[in-house]
Each structure stands twice: as structure tokens, then as C-alpha cells.
Assembly symmetry: C2
């Protein structure tokens, strides 16, 4: 048996976390031969999702935020797909594939009380690449789907701007908006990503924000008609520029503010265009996938439609797979440096 | 006959307008003896409303905004109450009181084509002080009423923060929110105004922002429980501080951004807390009273309920009356310096 390794939170960072210092891969007890706990499971991890929100958990426990702080010394958790090695529960058999909120580690020993965190992977259309259940069919997919419909309220012929357009959420938003008949423009962080959203995802226009001297000019160029919807995964400078470029009664879907996650409050980008929220009568709304108006309202519809679109090839998925838990820290950091290209998945 | 005088737009200002330079009172043709135009009216102005939005009209015509730019050389217009001097229309008789969008001048000669801009003042409950139809029963009142209900969605026991709380809109928002059973806190620009909102309007708490070193600290003191609703007439620093103090799923009603109206875009206050719109899942929405979800939805209900509340003394009104059109420029400027105390009304 190989040793069991986990991604552990070591120290609270003040900026970009440093692998080895703030998070590290460490050996922990337990392996596939560990006796199954009473009523529990022994799982072998297949894939774990790595997501920007996990940076927000690396904070002092007294700081309030939408997701509980992770205590220093604990193993990170995330949505993961795993295989049952042994089971003391009649609902699960060895060999079953499960999905749920699990520790980021190679072998997971799940006590009976933790069983509600996993369920059998439900794959009625036999989607071949099960990593999709961490991407378009997982949390990023439902985030894209629910945020777009609930807050964006897309209508045929309108224009939507998607930031971080090749990312896990952005790639879905853009493609669904195209299916709804919108004009879709996006921003990305490299020329390679730009080519991808234009040539493979069918975006109507886009730009690499790293090579633009002015986001305002870039927006004016790719969407001279103005924006009906801005689906924002970035915040800061992107939000500021888009506010000035929205049409009256436009909707800004605040899905994330990744540009802020590694910044102290006083270093956040100074947004000077909030005045347009008033004068253009915009609706700017933040949401989390766990909010009941997203989760409860859209889960079933999202699974049904997106499974269909994946099955018939209507939707494309870009997954950035990193192999080996020893590479998890670098894979996580890539989310903030933009090194990743697509949805980040850790393969064990 | 005294000469007819009007408030004229002279020059586009770049900051705070200067009376005599950017706006001035000038003699214009026409007086009460002027022959009534065919199908039209001759009106003697009684009261004109002066409002912050009029600053936004003093811009170059090519700059887009929600209200048409006022061409240089033209007379300002506003909601006004006037008396019919002579009429060539069977719907109006000399002595009738009318209300509508009129030039800010002592005598108004109204051509037949402009009659849609005025109507007979409808005062079914015989409200004694007809200036109320420019305040609580006028545009500021409907603004307060519609914005509070449509966007704020007040619920008994919640906490609302109102900026510019003694102003035309703020005084209404605070009092209606109290009637709805909310805890109401407000910010004002003088100790006299603070005493007024606490002692006369029944606000639960408040502060004079000019004597606070930190808006964040002031908010934490007056509303330690956090804010469910922020009804904002100020923007900039007030919006920034309130975003950090909102509860999850709070609503920010952007009614105006008076702190910006005399600033160049690059001088606007840098808001660093937009990230909370995402993480607290806030809804931040701007509106204008003319938006159909306000005007059409709330006009009748607003008149019925607010007329009743004024008649039985439930609601109080603070009007800051300035006498004589020659004082109109200073009265208008007072809106931006905070010299006014309550709804600004020009009496002729």
C-alpha cells in the first residue's frame, strides 16, 4: 500500500498562499486496507474539484464569510468523486462511484455520521467523462446556469459580457447564453484562452485583458452596443469598467470576485462607477449556488438540460486536469495566477 | 405689473455651479396681462420644486444620462404648482390651481401643445398645505414610497439605514419604515438635522456624518445588528461603508448619489467594498421614479396612503421654503452644500 496523502491547511496567508508554507501535502493515517468504520465507508479518491472559494476558507475563524473558515491544521475539503473500497452500509457496494463533499486526500475513511455528505453518482445518460460532474454538471455548472437565468434574465438578441470566460463557470455561461440567442463577449487572461472561447465555444467577441491598456476601450470595441448582462467572476477593475458600459436596466450577476481573494480590504480595486448603478437603474446582485433560489429552483432543470447538451455535443467542456495529490497546491494556486486553462480537477 | 423673471442655464459647470455664472435669474418677456395663447393658459407660479437631479441636466448634450440635457440658454424646468390667470381651454378656469412640469419663472405662458404637462391639482382630502404635492405627495414622496417597497422589501423587525435622512426623500423613507415596524437609523449633515430625525421623525438612531471620523464606526454604533436595507441618497463613502455593514441577502436601494453630482468621474469616491455584494449576496438596485415598476405600480397606492397619513398627522413634513425667484440659484445650491433643511421649495 502507498501512503495516504492529504492537502493540509498549514498557516493563514495574507496574500497569495505559498505552497509548503500555507498549504502542504502531508502523509496521514489510513489506507485502502483500513477497516471500514461501523456503518461507514472506505473510499479511494478519483477526482477532486479545486475552486477559488477555497481561498476564502483560509482565514482567521473570527472573520465572517459565507463559507466556514477552515481551522489551521485541517485537511481541505471539496466536491470529489471517489470509488467505494469497502462499505458497511447496504446503500453502497465496493466498486460504486460516489460524489460528495470529501477531504482532499487519497483515501477517505468515512464514518457513518458523515455519510450524508456523499451519494451514488447518478449518471442516467451515461456521460462518459465523469469529471463533468465536478464541472458543467457540478457546482460550477449549476452556478453558471442558476446565476444566468435567475439574475441575468437572458433574452434573445441581448448582449452579455462574461469575465474569466474560459474558467469553470464562464465557459458554461457563455455557451448557454449562445444557445439562448444572445450576443456573447468575454474576457480572458491569455491569447490561447481567447482563441478557445472564440473558435471552440462560439463567443462572438472577446479580449485578453492582460494585453489591453484600457478595459473600457476593450469593452467599447467588442460590444459597441453596450451590455444588457454582465456575468462577473472577477470583480474590481472588470466590474468598474462594465458598470460604465451597461445599458439602462442591465443586470450584473456577481458570481465571484477572484481579483480580491488574495488582497487586504484596503488594497481592493477602487470602483468609481457605482454611480451608474443608480443612473442606469442597474440591478447588481450577488449569489451563491447554495442560495435556495438557485439550488432548489434550478438543480433538476440544470441536470436535465446540461446532461442532454453534453451527451449530444452541444456543450463543450474544458477541464484542466492536474495529476497526483502532490501537485494539488500548485493546481490550487493556478486558479489565482490564471495558469489553469478551464475547470481545475485534481486526478489521484 | 412686475417684470417676469426666470431661472436660466448660463454655462456648463465642471464642479459646483456658481450663481450668476452657470445659472442666473433673468428677465424674460410675458406677464399676467399677456394674451392667452389659443387653446392655452397663462399661469402665475406659486411654488416650484428644486431637486438634485436638475444638476445632472447641466451637462454637454452629447453626454448620455437618464434625463435630457438642458441646452445652455434655456430656462430650468421642474414640478411646480401654479394658478390659472387666464385660460382658452374649457378644462381650466381662472383661479384654478394646477400642477405639472413648468419652467421656473414667475409667469408661464403655456401653448396648447404644452397642456399635457399640467393638470388640475387633485386634493380630495383637502390637504391644507399644498406644498405637500411637491414633497411627500409629489415626486420625492413617490420616490421614497416606490423605492422602499419595490426594492427595499421592508419587513417588520428589520433594520434600515437611510442616508440624507432629513432630505425630501429620506424623511419619507424613514417615517414609512417606522410605520412598517422597522428599526430605522439615519445619517444627516448637521446636529440640528440629527435632533430632528430623532425627536420629530421618530428615527431610532442616527449620526451627523460630518462629525464622525469613520462611517464604519458610526454604523457599527447605531446599528450593531447590521443592515437589512440601505436606502441611499448619497452614494460614495456612504455606499462603501454600508456595503460592509449589510446583512446577508440585504437590499441596497440606490435612489441617488448626490455626493457625485458635482464631481468629475475620476474624482468619484473609490468604493472598495463591492466584493460584499457578492459574498453577502446583496441586491443593489438603482431606480427612477419614472420607471414603470415604480410609477405605474405605486402611484395610486402612494397617493391614497400618504394623503391619509398627512391628513391624520401620522407623517410629518419638513419643507425648506425659499421666497422669491431671485433666490432660486442659492436655494438650488443649498441641495449640494447641505444648507437646506428638508424638501426645497421655491415660493414666488
Amino acid at each position: 500500500m502507498s501512503p495516504n496523502r492529504a492537502l493540509v491547511f498549514k498557516e493563514i496567508p495574507s496574500g497569495l498562499p505559498v505552497p509548503g508554507k500555507h498549504l502542504a501535502v502531508e502523509e496521514i493515517p489510513g489506507d485502502e486496507t483500513t477497516a471500514c468504520p461501523e456503518g461507514g465507508l472506505v473510499l479511494k479518491s478519483l477526482y477532486s474539484s479545486l475552486d477559488p472559494y477555497q481561498r476564502g476558507r483560509m482565514r482567521p475563524p473570527h472573520v465572517q464569510s459565507y463559507y466556514p473558515a477552515l481551522p489551521v491544521g485541517e485537511t481541505f475539503t471539496s466536491r470529489a468523486i471517489a470509488q467505494v473500497v469497502s462499505s458497511d452500509n447496504p446503500q453502497f457496494r465496493p466498486g460504486d462511484t460516489v460524489i460528495g463533499m470529501l477531504s482532499i486526500q487519497e483515501v477517505v475513511i468515512l464514518e457513518a455520521k458523515s455519510l450524508p455528505f456523499v451519494r451514488l453518482l447518478d449518471n442516467p445518460m451515461s456521460i462518459e467523462d465523469i469529471r463533468a460532474f465536478l464541472g458543467p454538471l457540478g457546482v460550477p455548472g449549476l452556478t453558471a446556469y442558476g446565476g444566468l437565468y435567475e439574475i441575468g434574465k437572458p433574452e434573445r438578441g441581448q448582449t452579455i459580457f462574461v469575465s474569466a470566460a474560459s474558467g469553470a463557470v464562464g465557459q458554461m455561461v457563455g455557451q448557454i447564453a449562445k444557445l439562448e440567442g444572445l450576443r456573447v463577449v468575454g474576457s480572458v487572461g491569455s491569447d490561447e484562452k481567447l482563441k478557445f472561447i472564440l473558435d471552440e465555444l462560439g463567443f462572438d467577441a472577446g479580449f485578453n485583458y492582460k494585453t489591453e491598456s484600457s478595459l473600457a476601450d476593450a469593452l467599447a470595441r467588442v460590444a459597441p452596443e453596450g451590455l444588457d448582462i454582465f456575468f462577473d467572476n472577477v470583480g474590481g477593475d472588470h466590474l468598474d469598467a462594465a458598470l460604465a458600459h451597461m445599458k439602462d436596466h442591465g443586470r450584473v450577476v456577481l458570481c465571484g470576485t477572484i481579483s480580491d481573494y488574495n488582497k487586504a480590504p484596503e488594497d481592493r480595486y477602487p470602483v468609481r462607477n457605482t454611480t451608474y448603478i443608480f443612473s442606469k437603474r442597474l440591478t447588481v446582485r450577488g449569489f451563491l449556488v447554495s442560495d435556495k433560489e438557485i439550488m432548489e429552483k434550478y438543480s433538476a432543470e440544470h441536470q436535465r438540460r446540461v446532461q442532454g447538451w453534453l451527451k449530444d455535443g452541444t456543450l463543450r467542456t474544458k477541464i484542466w486536469e492536474v495529476q497526483g495529490v502532490e501537485n494539488a497546491p500548485e493546481a490550487f494556486l493556478a486558479l489565482f495566477t490564471g495558469k489553469n486553462f478551464g475547470k481545475v480537477v485534481l486526478k489521484y
